[in-house]
């Protein structure tokens, strides 16, 4: 039982990591989630009396819940979109700062830049906290995009400064 639960937790964790990374086919992943879910459910009654087994079962359950949640279709909210784009802009700025930019880097930065205005087009639809989150993400992204478009010959965002500082640059 112990080994079986260890194996289940391992497989569920691996699957959740794969799903989270966005790699792989969603349909296959959904089937894999279902298969693991069935195996876990079958063991549920047997683990109740053993706290160690129950703990491992709960760990596997947590990983599967994550995988199921990520696979569930859900529209990206404006703050999530702002955060994602800002994160992508930051990643591009890091590439430029480390001399790893390639031919596509500038185009990617321009593509992100073009999506920025839409994020702040309807502020009345956001809560005050969401507006603040979007504004912060957009402002950080703008600085990183400026840095990328200037191919590193520009001031940095504060986050890029700290990234470089931590790298010892």
């Amino acid at each position: 039982m112990k080994d079986e639960l260890e194996q289940l937790a391992h497989e569920a964790g691996e699957l959740a990591q794969q799903v989270m990374s966005g790699a792989g086919e969603k349909a296959e992943q959904q089937q894999a989630v279902q298969a693991l879910d069935d195996r876990l459910t079958a063991l549920q009654g047997e683990v109740e009396g053993n706290s160690g087994h129950l703990l491992k079962w709960q760990e596997a359950r947590r990983y599967l819940d994550v995988a199921q949640m990520v696979l569930r279709p859900h529209p990206e909210t404006i703050p999530q979109q702002a955060r994602r784009l800002s994160h992508e802009a930051f990643a591009l700025a890091q590439q430029v700062a480390e001399g790893q930019a390639d031919a596509t880097t500038l185009d990617k930065a321009r593509a992100i830049d073009e999506q920025m205005p839409a994020l702040q087009a309807n502020p009345e639809e956001l809560t005050a906290a969401e507006r603040l989150a979007v504004e912060t993400a957009v402002t950080d992204a703008q600085l990183d995009i400026l840095y990328v478009l200037a191919e590193g010959k520009a001031p940095t965002s504060i986050r890029l400064f700290h990234f470089l500082q931590n790298r010892g640059s």
């Binding site: 964790g13 760990e59 990983y63 819940d65 859900h74 957009v138 600085l143 010959k153 400064f161």
Partner: protein, 429 residues
């Protein structure tokens, strides 16, 4: 803010000049009357506080008669110079807390307004000391106090000055880490931030790629391309808008200069920013500075970190922030599963709270006991004891129950050193 002095004689004004590094606390402190009844419990407590403070400061020069004493601004400033704002704040707060009945009274007048000697106004300012409980934002200007001129009331909240931020952070985290201020320049408003950005860009020979057609950078470009600009960095200097509505701005940026190397990369931007803002808020609150909603940064990230703290404990997060991310990740994985942090990090980066909520549900005390029991099964290494310590310290409220459940197993450990350590961890020594 400036401490009111204009009603004081010249001699007192001279004595008020503080050394350049001292900034007054964020309250307009008028001379105030303290009437106390030494027979009462509150009066005795008050006396104990004053005597302790006097012993620490070398004396506050308070008169000793029984029914009245006047603490002058010189005493306040003297205390600030010797012991800092937090100490003075605590003393005033203590007196204010005792300011009921005839025990003690503190007169506060509106920041920037003239100090009134009108008895009615004084009575009002004494009778409504609540302002002390929610102090306004400290002055941001990193300059010496100017005791002869009261500044106008600020139009908007401001960032803390560098020295204030360093002090509140040192007071809160100094036992864990010596706070280094770093190179942060506070600029006077967003226009000044745009102007500085333009200046740096022109000096660097930047091209404005967002202009059509692209052209060399020129003054005014920063405002167009980054209308919400609050700060940036160049040549090792971080420039921040002093007039930011974010009260935590200076402390937040200063904390970044003190984060353990590699923490940001290991935990990701969300947990890094959320931890930084969480710790900044904690330090400001400890110093008596209110941090209302809307006046702090990264609310979504702070919410995630607050939940993370409910899993691993605040001590673990703080020591990881200043000492290295490994302890945080290790503690989290011990409690939630060996692959859990590898899932939490990307979910947090995406601010996917549906997923982070799954991963940040704290284990029950029964689950924690099961984790500790599993770590004690078979051969027990010192690393296992490290992990047990992480579990036990994750929530102080669970410690007694874990100790009760685990205590019978202490004798199973072969090593006397490990038995002693486990007793210390469980608090059963």
């Amino acid at each position: 803010m400036t401490t009111e002095t204009k009603n004081l004689p010249k001699k007192d004004k001279e004595s008020l000049k503080p050394p350049p590094t001292v900034e007054p606390i964020n309250h307009e402190v008028n001379a105030y009357e303290v009437d106390r009844s030494p027979e009462s419990a509150a009066g005795q407590e008050f006396s104990r506080i004053v005597m302790k403070q006097e012993a620490e400061t070398g004396g506050l020069n308070l008169p000793e008669h029984r029914t009245a004493r006047r603490l002058r601004q010189t005493d306040v400033l003297h205390n600030q110079q010797r012991h800092g704002n937090a100490s003075t704040q605590r003393l005033i707060s203590q007196r204010q807390r005792l300011g009921t009945g005839n025990i003690g009274h503190l007169q506060l007048h509106p920041e920037g307004a003239d100090m009134s000697i009108d008895p009615t106004t004084v009575a009002e300012e004494v009778s409504q000391p609540a302002r002390q409980e929610t102090p306004s934002t400290p002055a941001a200007v990193d300059t010496p106090a100017t005791p002869t001129t009261a500044p106008p009331a600020p139009a908007s909240p401001q960032a803390m000055s560098m020295s204030q931020a360093e002090k509140v952070l040192q007071d809160s985290f100094g036992t864990v880490h010596k706070i280094v201020p770093g190179n942060i320049v506070l600029l006077d408003g967003r226009a000044a931030v745009w102007a500085k950005y333009d200046e740096v860009c022109i000096r660097l020979g930047c091209t404005n790629s967002k202009a059509t057609p692209p052209r060399p950078w020129q003054n005014g470009d920063a405002q167009v391309v980054s209308p919400g600009l609050e700060g940036f960095a160049d040549s090792g200097i971080v420039y921040v808008n002093k007039q930011t509505p974010l009260i935590t701005a200076t402390a937040h940026e200063m904390l970044h200069n003190n984060t353990a190397a590699g923490f940001r990369g290991a935990v990701g931007e969300t947990i890094n920013e959320g931890s930084t803002e969480y710790l900044a808020i904690k330090a400001l609150n400890a110093a008596g500075v209110a941090t209302p909603g809307g006046a702090t940064a990264y609310p979504g990230q702070v919410a995630i970190v607050t939940k993370l703290i409910k899993v691993v404990g605040e001590g673990t997060l703080t020591s990881a922030y200043f000492g290295g991310a490994d302890t945080l990740i290790d503690a989290y994985n011990t409690l939630q599963g060996s692959k859990a942090f590898s899932l939490l990090k990307p979910a947090a980066e995406a601010l996917n709270t549906a997923v982070t909520d799954i991963l940040l549900t704290p284990p029950s005390v029964e689950q924690k006991i099961a984790i500790v029991n599993s770590l004690l099964n078979g051969w027990v290494s010192d690393t296992d004891l490290d992990h047990i310590e992480m579990v036990v310290n994750s929530a102080s409220g669970d410690k007694a129950a874990i100790a009760t459940a685990i205590q019978p197993r202490i004798k199973e450990l072969w090593s006397i050193g490990q038995r002693t350590r486990l007793r210390v961890i469980l608090g059963t020594v």
